[in-house]
């Protein structure tokens, strides 16, 4: 995947996010799910679209871990995805895109590919 050129989108202040669960960020037409683990202070971001039945819901899924791998379970059919690399942990073919995150001055930033522009519909990001 081409990821050389990313820009950091200033998403929201970190206190706005619920603890140990997910929330959704909108960037142009794109919906991005953001998750945090309060104990370790880790933050993850991925597409909000579940590739299984193309539902915009991953931010509403349950957060968890499988071994060391942080994961999210889609609320519809409980497909689970790694938040590190987006791999489907049920062994199915569908994967998701994940994005890097960083925190600066109490704000969460999401690293998005530069090409992401208004013309691109959320459906295209897989």
């Amino acid at each position: 995947m081409e990821r050389e050129t990313i820009f950091w989108f200033k998403a929201a202040p970190i206190h706005a996010f619920p603890i140990d669960s997910g929330a959704c960020i909108k960037y142009l037409d794109q919906q991005i799910a953001v998750f945090n683990f309060s104990q370790s202070g880790e933050w993850y971001a991925c597409q909000n679209l579940c590739p299984h039945r193309m539902q915009m819901v991953l931010a509403r899924g349950l957060l968890g871990s499988c071994g060391e791998e942080p994961k999210v379970a889609c609320p519809f059919h409980k497909k689970t995805f790694s938040l590190k690399d987006g791999k489907n942990l049920n062994g199915d073919d569908c994967h998701i895109t994940t994005y890097p995150t960083k925190i600066e001055g109490e704000y969460l930033y999401i690293g998005l590919p530069f090409e992401t522009s208004q013309s691109e519909k959320a459906e295209n990001i897989t």
């Binding site: 998403a11 929201a12 104990q39 299984h52 819901v57 509403r60 349950l62 871990s65 073919d93």
Partner: protein, 834 residues
Amino acid sequence: MGGNMKKIIVVGNGMVGFKFCEKLHQADQEKNFEIQVFGEEQWPAYDRVHLSSFFEGKAKDELLLAPREWYENRSIELLTNTLIVQINRNLQVVIDHLGNKHQYDYLVLATGSSAFVPAITGVEKKGVFVYRTLEDLEALKSYASHCKSAAILGGGLLGLEAAKAALDLGLQTHVVEFAPRLMARQLDDQGALLLKTKMEELGIQIHLQKTTSEILGNGKLKGLQFTDGSFLEVDMLIISAGIKPRDELARKTGLAVAPRGGIVVDDHLKTSDPNIYVIGEAASHRGLIYGLVAPGYEMATQVVNQLIGKEVKPFEGFDMSTKLKLIEVEVGSFGDALGETPGSKPILYKNKTKGIYKRVNISADGKRLLGGILVGDTSQYGMLHQFFQNHMALPPEPEDLILGNRGGKSAQGFGIDALPDSAQVCACENITKLHLCQAVQEGNQNISSLKECTKAGTGCGGCLPMVNDLLNSELKKLGKAVKTTLCEHFSYTRQELLDLIKIKEIKTFRALINEFGSGQGCEICKPVVASLLASTWNEPIVKHQHIQDTNDRYLANIQKGGSYSVVPRIAGGEITPEKLIVIGQVAAKYQLYTKITGGQRIDLFGARVDQLPDIWEELIAAGFESGHAYGKSLRTVKSCVGSTWCRFGVQDSVSFAIEIENRYKGLRAPHKIKGAVSGCIRECAEAQSKDFGIIATEKGWNLYVCGNGGSKPQHALLFATDLDSKTCIQYIDRFLMYYIKTADPLTRTATWLNKLEGGIDHLREVVIDDSLGLGEELEREMEFLVNTYSCEWKEVVENPQLRARFKPFINTEEPDSSLQFEPLRGQKIPSNWV
């Protein structure tokens, strides 16, 4: 890798061809063989046995037996979309449809079969389908979307499966059978008749003794013309009249082919050419074609053993027992089902009201089980099949085999322990009891590792209940407590966690996992712990939103497309006109799809998450409360109108239903709970299908418990009679609390009771006789929950912080514009998903 690797070519990448690759790769430790597989279909081998689950929304890749990487990782060269058209035996090459030649040392033909299509005039018409490949099903599904009705030609196993699929596609479904009964080879007249009745109850029309003379229609099928002059008008036809082995390659290259099709093999599955084997449905062995996977898998193993030089037993043929799947009707048939063995004696059991028919055929000397038929209840199939297959000695009263549980005590000696070590538990993978026991002793002590290690239960899955029983019995013998631990994060059972939460006064998930678990939790343990915390402390569940499933998190049921539904409580189904009007006004204002539910209340669908608090604010202002349709909690207590209006009513069932529904509203449990109160014995509230049901008598109330609707309906059992209202409530308090404390997650009361040692008698002892001395404690705990109830929606509506959680986006106030709806009969529905 050695330089003189032998090259194996497998023609056909179906179920058996795949199994062959898997087995050979496993067995070939020394890497003596190189494997190349050709498949005509566009996908790698998939699970044909569960093909119909494609209609239940199973994605194609979920049906694959292994993804392409599987082959790559094992250096197995897979060429899909490639048809082998010719074999040149002298040169030992096969030629594909593009003319490429491929050299082999050994050739394994696993070409399976295709659907047999009888030569009826008009079969080529549009709208005529077969039911064999994924491609067939795709075509069928897309055509069906423009159809209202379908006929299935053939009333055998497969035909009935196809009929169920057609029914599920919403088609008016007909089955046309040439013989005088359904499943003629597996069932006798009585069994088949009962099956027919049951299919008809499902809405499938059955036409027996019909010979189709012509398929009519102008280019596109319009109906079937029968030889008796009658005509059946349908929009599509699915032919399921048997299979035709794919023996064309063998024919062309001069290998012997059986008169009725199939490539002739000997007991070593070899053809007359010593370098060519045939396995699976394409093979004709001792004049028989085996249309099932298990014998095909056995053949694959046989050939692998020969190739790697392991000890070989001749292939002896195979048992053709079957259990019908996928259809709501339970049907099983094994061995000599029709009792054709000379001297065989049948024992029959028939229960017309329950719709059960069972038959076993006993050998002339009374010592062996020859075969049998089960319709309506196949719970004994596993055991009976074992008796049959292992030639086990029959008990002195062989009728116990099918009558089973008589006089309250369970029959002795038919348990898993009675099986010999050689008993085959998994037929698909040919795994014996001994295999499994050894695997458990070697440390595979949970079901997934046992499955992975032995492969048992990975085929049709029918043996899984037995594998589970075996695992538990073996663990017991090893002195290990059999426990179903929750998931990788907690090695405790639900009950243990409940105790820990109480004793240690744990109030949050974080505290529990830090002290007693590991990792970050998951979609299994989080909702369970949420429910446990709620059943113990009855704090508003909104406090624990991060561990709730989406329904509990947003206090609404998620629907296709990501919108939510709203279900206000309408206790006992009683509602004033004023309140009805409010529901109508709210629905109109927010454009919600409105429907009466099966639980005597009203569901409003299609709300955006950000609209939920506003909708509820209006409902609460009009006196409504949350209906908890999203929770594992009390749903509804149905009522019938009862003695206030009804001329037969003997008690006021509505008032009692309302009292009970209000008592238990909000109660969190391992699964949802439903109740009902009927005003007399006519039982219009269907109380006997509920977790607890109450039926009025002249003297008071009869209490029933542990009923269930759903996919495995079960009638509630009469628990106590002629109770006054107070005692009735006392018993329900104790019953529900005991259930909450002891049931596994997601177990309804009926399933809980089925597993409860001592069954209903034990339950009566605990609840009525207070044998465990728990009565008062259970009542106290229930009283606490009843007294601490509050409507969680009210809390959200009144609390701006909680309300803020219903924003779809954190960084903007915009609503979610990705939701899409379509109109339907004057209301809206979500656009269908892909």
